[in-house]
Symmetry: D2
Subunit: 467 residues, 4 copies
């Protein structure tokens, strides 16, 4: 098991990372990006080690869930680590293990069908990352071009990452993946397809893993405006995650790291199996993240002296419901898993219901926080004003609520960061789009639902009536 | 364990039941009320027997839940028996056992505090009803008068059932309880307080059980308009539950059947503990009932040829979500029970979240069914028209959809019963008010929620920031 | 201008009306249907006469709107007449005039294009019905069969009313229209197409008018369960409207009453122009009808003693908003009309927004009424119980609220009729489907919206930024 | 009528403005604040002059509305000027005239009651600002301290602006107002009470106007993070409005500028009358602002190739509805004004309904924009990356949609600014809190609604039934 320091020093490996138009040298020294690295590094300070099968001591993230109880543990692991990182998800080993679990299942099926040896490669890769306690990003969402068109129909074939050449020792891939979380501060990047494919899409059915420092791999980090653009930021100064536009400019991948290559009919299965594991992770971290909004709202309600107002209580009840519905989703999904090849897959229906509720109701949670907090979260004087001696007297005085101005300003800063800063828009986008769109979840939900039970009930009633 | 016939014959016990202004003689012969009795009797046809402790073979409803697994079994029992009764809840042994579980817990606490012997009485009563395989109604909601006032503040003290005299062998009670489900077809009526009480309310803090045929007990049944008022009714011809205005006109209750008498500070606890068990029952039957709406909507969508329309799929997804959210609530509540005196109480927070979701979203489910079904559910010609030879040719012909007119008419009849008949309003009221109001659930939810976790998170972030 | 009596006696004209499997003789004597006739007849008691152009004294319904002010008058006319009929729409001259206005506009266009003389026929028909002060039903919605298919694609061509033969003196039509409001108690039935047509649908592009007593016209009335199925009904005993399945069994229509015949490319225009006028009528009556729900909710809130509760006030505010949004829709649509050939067409965008709001929010209004009223609206003892001397004492006593039991029972009866009776489902269906579906309104809304203004704004910002 | 240049040069008047801890010298030269000034100055470039009574040529904002038609003109004026400023409200003469109209009405009433001469002062002030074509900020919302307490109950009396001394030539006031829009770039600050007052609050019942450069007046501007914190900002680089914490540190106000002084019973009336005029302004600018979201969503839907998807069309329909509902509110409020002393007050009910709809539905509009736009609005590479030659090739290439990368990036930048930047949170707060809270609007709505009409209807039905 690595230490924080080992992890942080491993980032100086020549990886090609760009921020605001400049190539970043040492990420862990960069004034902005080092916070994303520091956030990731917190994982190494948490209690997460376990003796695992014949591999030895590994991070609990890498344990393949084989029972309801394993899934509940995994839910708690994600929840607790999110709580330990200021309520901000720590994706470092969570998403990668989600992908590895899916790769195990799908590679086994592919091997049976196509007489391949993918599953052994996945097994080896799994053991290697577990032993070396690596952090992993997963690049799934392609840049996609025209959303109406399939991969092979795009005018530019690079709109989806694809195999451009098959060589003796491996393959060459080209293309770009959008918004890969924490790619720039991960040890490895796992790539999987973003959707189901048809035969003509075969070149786009590709899955593999590469180290972050691989030649031809370029990562352009989004501007971290929740930090740079909010002079009062508190949370983002401690914890945030970055995303990159992840470019594969003719990247070579050796065979032992290739997990799918042109088996187009397995692409959808891999995308969906990963999504199920990852949405289970999502409801787990989202229930923890919800505490941020609930805590900030409680704090503002108290500072404003409105905790007992009926409309405030309604808003708080919605926040509690949001947070706990995510947990209900995780608990139910863990308790009724799909068992496949000895792996416990979180119940897809219950996972998707939590996911969908989260997508559809987050803006309402935001709305509640802003409603309770008041206009001041948008008009709070800057931190520079708050420190300037002349103004301080006015500001502390005039921003007092039921408690002192200083206390209320702290509450306002948190509420502003969540409800009226660049982070607001970032989280709204995240809550709507991360781990799959609303439409994708709806489709999955109807596919996984037991509609027959309902149809049979109506049929039985009609038959009983006819007698 | 009794048979259907034993149960049905037991109803002819001289009980005082009124329907539409007339005293009902033999309920199981009454053209309308016999369906409620027949519905109740279906319980006796189900597989529900179990060997229980030292009592012998009893109905599984009477098993005190002592673990998560017991609660899951109870959830399935309620779900399955609802499905076996056309999706309509069968309350016969469910609500009574919910009350008995609560009485066990609260009587023990009362005995400790007040040196009473209530818990032994509850135990005896429990064994007796279990051995005799009785059906039980629970009369909780008082008629209440002016809702702004406490029991003792009402201008007429009879607005809440209360003790009017304490005698050597027992007590005398007077008052009325509103909408007691299946009272007229139950063997026993259990009475518990509807709310928390203060010292001046002591006379209103009363819990007891009486046979349905007790002298002075009068039950006025609501008009069963879902049956009498819908010539096309199918479901209600097979299954419905009645409610009564249940009047206690100076009813004498012997001591061995008195479970609370003037211990006002325990009234709220009894009301809430019962509510928790009963809301767990509620989310269990509601998930089953939801199949009716989903099944009817699927059937109409197919008959109308609109199953693939995006707005139809959205509506169906909401119905699936509704149904499964109830189950998520039950599963989560079962998995994280409160343990008290060896009894597993369903997690109140998760129970209430399911309950609240059901309250707030049922009208949306209705809306979806009506939207998918079309105006025809309100304008369907009467059953008499459908049988009349001259008209039949027109009606079957003109009501055809993707399938035959006959098939579509069957679907319409079900959809009409659920979405455009007297049953519609009945179910909407049930879904909003049964097992406690929205406001009551919200209050419970905020009380049971772990708000401290959220507040601590925000506090920790602020502290880390100060360093 | 006719009197009530003249109107009522005119119904005995041999029309072929069926109710519950029996042919109805004199409608105004039928125990159930006479209420629909009596409701219609109330129109003749209202102040609605006006001197109109060269026609003389006519009902204000027949005045073609030529200005904003005319439209506002029409809105008030519909609103006031609804209020005069217990909050229940009186369609008798409203829908027919909506159709005539649309026929004027579309027939003029058709004549220009096809060198026909439809517009003169429409003019003559308009004058004749105005002079004779007739009541008119409009049969638009075909029975439709498989909704995925166009008229000509249906396996049974009769799924849409269509021309089966063109003869010297007129045409013969066959088919059926669904849910024609008040057809059985109207003097005339106007038929128009339900949708846009393509060339192969030409036979289905047909518009005409026939007297209700026309040979081959058969009307099957829906069962009036809001009256027959609710022993406590108050509103429906005074006012309701019936719908019929309206069958045209090879009906002959003379040329002077044919307003469209195979001009398929005008069918959509006629359907939409009528819909616009009729949706303006709809928002007008719906704002009046909303008073029923608001009034009932206020009454129950007072009787229950909860008028000042925050959640009750929220519900009432939603009801006020619902009612007034309908009026805002009418006022705005009247103030910004489309002018065409001197006719003021209500602004389609503002009309549709009101319509859509009404569709989407009615179930929420229902929900509010039920929430405020309490479970008692479903469990109210029957009227027979309330009259029976023995029980009366209990019922009046125990149903008392802040006021007497008698007063509260009256409030409950109204609230039950609206919120927990057959009328509930009927109104929900009406509010969702009458005057066009949600999807139809959405489509219209996007078509009529000025999207270009928004696009230009964004374009202008981008251009200013580039400079 | 002043020119842009005259206005801008007038800002160098020694006013005490602070930004990020520093006193700002010349605002129109400040790199950030000059944009707020430039935004305000756009007003002077618009066609807004009119000959007004005996005052001469003035800005149309200063015309007292005396008819429906005047109100419609005012609605258009606000709408058009918002459209001319990138969809961002230009408050410069709008809010001040709203306050002046309210001051006219309330001062007349106060004079009658208290034999004062406020109305002449208001008249003189009105003429003076109109003649000099001044820009005006209105400081209404006090900092408030503990929201549960009235002004006189606060532990620190300065929590509401109040009179500390009454002198021969005027009064001295102390306290602070929160979030005063555009105060730092306005010529004048008008102060009015924020709520109704009781007798003990008399010192807090104070209204007056002062020039922005008045001694003791200090304005601390919020950090403009939508500009400084979003490297891709386009709109905010052209148009935004600032808010200040506006401190009155023992400011002297001469009598001729005092419009209310201790007439506590008129404070509520002034607050509400202003709110009504200003909410009419609000729905007018909000309908224009809505074009931004609609335009951005349309643009993203096209670039992503999803314009025809059902869920996208649903979202667009909601945006159209939002925009047009604001206009319906304005049109209806203008058409049914309250007339008082010859002044046309926008109908308060219709104004509040628009306002409330806007408050409650804005987060849904945001949600729609984010849903349509996709995750890319949060992960768009920075502007610096887009300019850097090496990366440009990748970025333009990989961000292409149905059109070129360059076009789509422009759309993304706008969508990001609105949906995933600091502006997102700012606008959400604005839409929820500006011009009064949701609870305030609900209270106003129920107060202004005609509840009697609904109650009478129900009463009439019951009476008719009794006969």
């Amino acid at each position: 098991m690595r230490t924080k320091e080992q992890y942080l020093s491993s980032l100086s490996d020549g990886r090609e990372v760009y921020y605001r138009g400049k190539k970043v040298g040492d990420i862990s020294e960069h004034p902005v990006l080092r916070i994303a690295a520091s956030h990731a590094s917190k994982l190494f300070g948490l209690d997460r080690s376990v003796q695992y099968e014949n591999v030895g001591e590994v991070s609990r993230y890498f344990v393949v869930p084989r029972s309801s109880s394993d899934l509940i543990s995994r839910h708690r692991l994600v929840y607790d680590s999110t709580m330990a990182c200021s309520g901000i998800f720590n994706i470092s080993q969570a998403i990668g293990s989600d992908a590895i679990f899916a790769l195990h299942l799908v590679s086994r099926e592919t091997d049976l069908k196509h007489h391949k040896e993918y599953s052994q490669r996945v097994k080896n890769y799994h053991e290697s990352v577990a032993k070396n306690d690596l952090t992993l990003a997963v690049a799934q969402t392609d840049v996609k071009g025209d959303r109406k068109k399939r991969p092979h129909e795009q005018s530019d074939p690079d709109m989806y990452v694809h195999v451009t050449s098959i060589e003796k020792d491996g393959i060459v891939v080209n293309g770009a993946k959008a918004h890969t979380t924490q790619a720039a501060v991960s040890d490895e990047i796992i790539v999987i397809p973003t959707r189901a494919m048809v035969e003509k899409d075969a070149d786009f059915a590709v899955a593999f893993a590469v180290p972050a420092s691989t030649k031809g791999l370029k990562m352009i980090v989004r501007p971290i405006e929740e930090l740079e653009g909010n002079s009062s930021a508190i949370i983002s100064k401690q914890d945030y995650e970055l995303e990159t536009l992840t470019i594969f400019d003719n990247v070579f991948v050796p065979w032992e790291r290739v997990f799918q290559c042109r088996e187009y009919e397995m692409a959808g299965s891999l995308a969906v199996t990963f999504a199920t594991f990852h949405r289970f992770t999502a409801v787990s971290y989202r229930s923890a993240t919800a505490n941020l909004y609930l805590g900030a709202a409680l704090s503002m309600a108290k500072q404003n002296g409105i905790l007992e107002s009926a409309h405030v209580r309604d808003r708080l009840a919605e926040m509690v419901m949001y947070k706990e519905l995510m947990r209900m989703s995780a608990i139910s999904a863990a308790n009724l898993p799909l068992m496949k090849d000895g792996v416990a897959i979180p119940n897809p229906l219950y996972t998707n219901i939590g996911k969908l509720y989260s997508n559809k109701n987050f803006s309402n949670i935001l709305d509640g926080l802003v409603d309770i907090s008041g206009g001041i979260i948008s008009t709070l004087p800057s931190l520079e004003d708050q420190n300037e001696p002349f103004e301080k007297k006015y500001i502390s005085k005039y921003l007092a609520g039921t408690g002192s101005g200083k206390e209320r300003i702290n509450s306002i800063r948190i509420a502003k960061e969540l409800g009226a800063s660049s982070q607001t828009g970032y989280m709204l986008t995240l809550m709507l789009h991360a781990e799959g769109s609303i439409e994708a979840s709806k489709m999955a939900l109807l596919k996984d639902a037991d509609l027959v039970e309902a149809e049979k009930l109506v049929q039985a009633i009609l038959e009983a009536s006819a007698n």
